[in-house]
């Protein structure tokens, strides 16, 4: 518990900054929406845009003049923000001990390596959940004036499940790389690279039908906001796949960290 609390404290400032980013994004995004809402001209402009560009920004599937449609578009960007946060906190919370040379302190205390990283992972998950709550609350407060219906709130709630799955996937990828890479200092950048590559893979699949298999590689394709809106549910198969990825990454992370030589 003491490690968990210390990590929460140590990450508090970063969490505030990330929260600030999502709140700012939410406010700006929904302020823009006031110009789109029930605006037929906007619809015409969007219709005249090339479909490829629209799909790149995930705008083709949604009617941007409705709140649901608008949130569907915002969702993609929020996904990117929370997964980048998750990947950084997952890798950082592990590798900082070696980078800051504090392993000679933290790992000469009477605790096992398992306990240390378990507490750290819990602290990282806690940070992710807080960020989700910040999104949920700031979204709720900033859409109130548009008087959203019940479906909107269900849509948002279900999308949180999808976001959480994605956060956990990238958090555990970050943990795995920080635990397993010899060049642990590059773990964060490597994890972000994986994140961006899979993100662009998910966008490319929208342009062409030939790269269909990317769907199964890119976690960003696991949860499609369009089907979340239509079905008001996430595809349980992809939740299970996410869980599988998390388990595999964590097992890999734990085993490599337990075997690892920690130098200063």
């Amino acid at each position: 518990m003491n490690i968990f609390l210390r990590e929460i404290k140590a990450n508090l400032k970063a969490l505030f900054i990330w929260s600030g980013v999502v709140v700012f994004y939410m406010i700006v995004g929904l302020t823009k929406f006031s110009g789109f809402m029930n605006n037929p001209e906007m619809l015409e402009i969007l219709d005249s845009m090339p479909p490829a560009i629209l799909s790149a920004f995930n705008m083709n599937a949604f009617n941007l003049t409705t709140l649901n449609g608008f949130y569907g578009v915002i969702f993609s960007y929020i996904t990117l923000i929370v997964t980048i946060h998750a990947v950084f906190i997952g890798s950082g919370i592990i590798l900082k001990e070696e980078r800051d040379k504090t392993v000679e302190f933290s790992l000469t205390l009477p605790i096992s390596r398992q306990k240390l990283i378990t507490s750290k992972i819990f602290a990282a998950v806690f940070n992710c959940i807080v960020l989700l709550l910040v999104i949920l609350i700031s979204n709720y407060l900033s859409v109130l004036k548009y008087e959203p219906d019940e479906i909107y709130f269900k849509f948002v709630a279900v999308s949180m499940i999808a976001l959480f799955c994605l956060q956990m996937i990238f958090l555990s990828i970050g943990v795995l790389l920080a635990c397993a890479m010899k060049q642990y200092k590059r773990a964060s950048s490597a994890a972000v690279a994986i994140l961006l590559i899979t993100y662009f893979m998910s966008i490319i699949t929208d342009f062409t039908d030939k790269l269909e298999f990317f769907k199964y590689i890119s976690p960003f394709k696991f949860f499609n906001p369009v089907s979340i809106l239509n079905e008001l549910a996430v595809n349980i198969n992809y939740v299970l796949i996410s869980l599988g990825i998390v388990v595999v990454c964590l097992i890999g992370g734990y085993t490599s960290y337990l075997k690892r030589d920690l130098y200063v």
């Binding site: 800051d100 504090t102 000679e104 302190f105 000469t108 605790i111 096992s112 075997k259 030589d261 920690l262």
Partner: protein, 290 residues
């Protein structure tokens, strides 16, 4: 009873040598010195004992238990002071020490404040505002606050002023009198001689000798330099002299044995200067343990 038992401990970092077949025991209540030049493998040995790194071969036991397998359990009773201390920079000294204390199964608050007072440590400063020496003091308090049965010191005195060094040595002696076993690693022969009862000398990853400090002192070589116009190497052609060579008008050599005999020879000759000193550790390695 042996507090530390090291058996053929070997560590390679990839292909480069860490330590090779290191074996020695430390019994309860000893202050055991561990000396060798930088890069000889002192810190590697200590990090293996603390399970920070894993051995390539061999094993080590602390309190009779394997130091890797029972690491967390035996570390309850180990106090460790690394050669360079690194703590979480953003924390206040007192918070860090309390955090450290929270891992031990006993109440350390009283001892924490006692030690901080002895070491004149300001508890309310932030770690990153501390000087190198003051960080070292935090390390000393952190390493001793749980009254460990085994104290492992890795070049502990660097960064401490002479006054603090003295206080620190007194503290270690006191801990030792109260029953703590001490492993003291250093490259400064003087401080090891002052404090330790037994020493292991390590060179290029291998233990050269494990000896009582008394034997070491009796066997101690003196480094002698005699200056004089008429002095020659032949004057010192006697037992116990080694590495004899003449350099301009001075004769240099190492001497081991009764100091009176060599003084007699020196005083029976006309000389202009004489210098008798302790050889440096380096020189011991080169001449004593060849």
């Amino acid at each position: 009873m042996n507090v530390i038992e090291i058996n053929n401990l070997t560590k390679y970092y990839g292909k480069s040598r860490g330590i090779i077949n290191v074996s020695f025991n430390i019994s309860e209540g000893e202050i055991f010195g561990f000396i060798g030049p930088n890069g000889a493998g002192k810190s590697t040995t200590i990090r293996l004992l603390l399970a920070l790194i894993y051995p390539t071969k061999g094993n080590a036991k602390i309190f009779g238990k394997d130091c890797i397998k029972y690491g967390p359990e035996i570390r309850q009773e180990i106090g460790y002071l690394p050669s360079e201390v690194f703590y979480y920079d953003k924390m206040k000294v007192i918070d860090l020490l309390k955090y450290s204390a929270s891992f031990y199964k006993k109440d350390c608050t009283e001892r924490l404040h006692e030690l901080a007072e002895i070491m004149e440590l300001d508890l309310n400063k932030r770690i990153d505002d501390l000087s190198y020496g003051n960080k070292k003091k935090v390390g000393i308090v952190q390493g001793l606050l749980h009254k460990p049965k085994l104290i492992i010191l890795d070049e502990p005195t660097s960064g401490l002023d002479p006054l603090m060094q003295q206080k620190f040595f007194d503290l270690i002696r006191l801990e030792n009198q109260n029953g703590a076993t001490v492993l003291f690693s250093s490259h400064i022969l003087g401080e090891v001689q002052k404090l330790c009862t037994r020493v292991a000398i390590i060179k290029e990853g291998q233990i050269i000798t494990v000896e009582d400090i008394k034997t070491l002192q009796e066997n101690n070589y003196k480094k002698i330099k005699v200056k004089g116009k008429y002095i020659t190497e032949e004057h010192f052609n006697m037992d116990g002299v080694s590495n004899l060579h003449k350099n301009e008008d001075a004769v240099n050599f190492f001497y081991k044995g009764n100091i009176n005999q060599v003084l007699k020879i020196i005083s029976s000759n006309l000389i202009s200067d004489v210098l008798i000193e302790e050889p440096t550790l380096e020189e011991i390695f080169i001449h004593y343990y060849r």
